[in-house]
Amino acid sequence: MMKIAVIILQLVLFIVFAPFLSGLIAKIKNNVRMRRGPSVFQPYYNLAKLFSKGQAVSETASWIFKVTPFVVFSSMFAAAMFIPVFIFSTSAHYLGDFLAVIFIFSLGRFFLALAALDTGSSFGGMGSSREMFISSLAEPVFCLVIFTLFLQFGSTDIAAFSGIHPLSASSVVAATALFLVTIAETSRIPVDNQETHLELTMIHEAMVLEYSGRSLALLEMAAYVKQMIFFFLVAQIIFPIAAPGLSGLIPSVLWILWYSARIIIVAALAALVEISVAKMRLFRVADFLGFAFILGIIAVVCAILGV
């Protein structure tokens, strides 16, 4: 019972904090561009707005379209259960390990890509095709990153994070590879652009184009959670951090501050990448992820050499 309570608490914390990261990234981007930009809480306002609005459903859509928001929501939050983001507990590790997380992500993606085809719009088809293209090339990189962690720790259990050597060469290279995957998976520049609805460039936005109201809100929430999971993974690989000893108030507060600062650093990094590079052509993404794959191999070699 205690374990389930811990898991639920973690998921609630996810819902509360995940949208903040998107707001923060938008704020950083705008400030660097010398604009004021919307508040960091804008994603929350958007969610509130979407939840209170009505919904328009395409006539051509089938039940796949209606069920997809729940499947995507469920798979992203299931993945979040595995990631010990807020509370260092291994309560969810009876369910599965890191490798299972890859497959859980692909469950949500599979349904989202189907729903995009379901309405019969060419935009949806474009998004669906491109998403599956990018994600299938990202999967081997993710696998190599997990393999690197596995070589360091000897298990694919989620507790593996506690065994990472801080700032070892293999961790840093693996984290870099994972950061490139993060850019691709969270639909950020240079792979995708969240801010545009231009049909030639959009990928994730094209898939959710037909969604509105609460269904869209659920999908957005799932996307925020996915982004937070990836940021957390990158942060945790570069700056691994163990559970607090809880020896007094000030150390605990410092621990919590450093804990969240790492994730914010990664988010800021993603924001800086977004404003400093141009979006690349879709077919160049294969080279981009190919580079990430090479980094993954280097990380594995470093891990084998023990550095």
């Binding site: 729940f70 599965g96 859980i104 379901d118 019969g120 719009s121 696998c143 000897g154 694919t156």
Partner: protein, 624 residues
Amino acid sequence: MRFFSFYRGYAVKMINIPLKQFFLFDPLSLFFLSVIFVVSLPAAVYSVGYLRGGYSSAKITLSWFLFFVFILSMALVVTVSNALVFLVFWEIMSLVSYFLVVFDTNHERSVQAGMIYIVMTHIGTAFLTAAFLLMYKHANSFDFLAIKNACQTMPAQTRNIIFILLLIGFGTKAGIVPLHLWLPYAHPQAPSHISSLMSGVMIKTAIYGLIRFVMFILGVDSSWWGILILILAVISCLVGVIYALMEHDLKRLLAYHSVENIGIILLGVGLAMFFLSVNMPYLAVFSLIAGLYHLINHAIFKGLLFLCAGSVYKAAGTRDIEKLGGLIKKMPQTAVCFLIGAMAISALPPLNGFVSEWLTLQAFFLGAANAAGGAKLFLGLCAAMLALTSGLAAACFVKAFGITFLAQPRSRYAENAREVSLSMKAGMFFLAALTIVFGLAAAGIMKLLAKAAGAATGIDTGSMSFSLNNFILSPQVSRNTYLSTPLLALALAALGIAGFGIYMAFGRQKAIACKTWDCGYYKLSPRNEYTATAFSKPLRIAFSFFLLPYRKTRKIRESFYLVKSFTYETHTTQVFKKYIYDPALALVLKSAKSLRRMQPGSIHLYIGYIFITVLLLIIFMRKF
């Protein structure tokens, strides 16, 4: 009279031979028997509805006869204990399946596919015969156990030759790249319940042969055997799935996925061989369990997918997915079954394909933990390629399901489709249910598979544990790794319900039905929908170094400014066919042509041939 008594004595002797001597019912054989029957039962039920209406009653009777001979021959192949008898049943299996491939004789493509199939399969059998004869030379017996004993003392070189012969022979049947050529021709041409048996079961008998003859009889002692199989398996995985992505014929797409999945199965088998050669029994059994698990899973979900494809073909009259679409509304139950199969083959949790791919990945990881430097990298790369394969397979099945079943019908064929009959649905739902059961009951199934894997490798698995408790399966490592599909399914369901709860928490929602956004044109037609060709275009470009795509565009203009019609054509090059098989075939035909000069039709010349032959024979007899 002497002759007669000799004959009678022989006959009596024949009867006295106990049947047991020819059969082997160890856990490995029983496992393959269960694979055969688990797919053939629903296929038989399905065929009742499938054959009705399409064929004459005589043809249906013939089909039942061939169907049963086919199943019987496969069942005998996996249970006999004598290489010669094995070969006989192997041939019967190949021949009967040939007749089933050309069952629709009115299609020219069936006859052509049958031709390719029968030639390829006989090339494979030739290699097997050579391997068996070499074994016989050492053992002086065709009995499995006698050969097994003789193989202990065989020189390394002979063992290597036998391994290569067996690999080519069984590889042809299994469809390992580059011996896969016949598979995408033959499997789709057979009636669908036969396709499901061929793809689901028949190619698995080749895996049985590989396990039985290489692992069990020959015994693995050099590590390059396993490594060679791993390399071939990775190539099969990638080539199979990339070709499948480019394919628009629903059944051929599935046939290419069989090439891919045979690759995944062989990853487990090859890994097991590798571990056997470096003397790591626990990991060898674990990898073989992963391979066998994927084998039975593939039999189930590929059988299911072929049955669904057959239903689509029966209902819509075409297999070209570019002409389909919107079938989820016309055939809702077939759509659900196909979706379950597609999810399983894309390794989505908590279905069965996920469990076996997870196990295979774990086998690679665990192997890497116990291997030295270079091998670690190799195993890691193999695991990454498996991840790439499963990603591409998911992309392919988004395409296959999305284009076939979703959006609006793209042609009259699809518009007129109706849900299929009850017997067909029964066959499909049975396999769909098994897909879920084999996902959720993973822990128990793994224990059963451990027995089969133990029998195959000759390792006592009694002392090994492959499961923590009834619900949780785990590889035995210092720090335990868990996977529990029932709990995972429960978590997914609970979270889905939670999502629905959040959705409903804000009270009733106004939902209006509207048209799909088409930039305000309000005339969205099926022609606006994304096609399968367009869907796979990014991957066609990414893998253009291998696919060598070729395209032709042609515009017919009324005037410079007005294009009246526009044709776009694109093909990919079949590298293996163009650069290996076509030249080889051309060579064979050319030499046959030059030999034909011997046969000009003149009777005098033929009498001359006979005379010369007799003369030569007389000289031969005199001399030797």
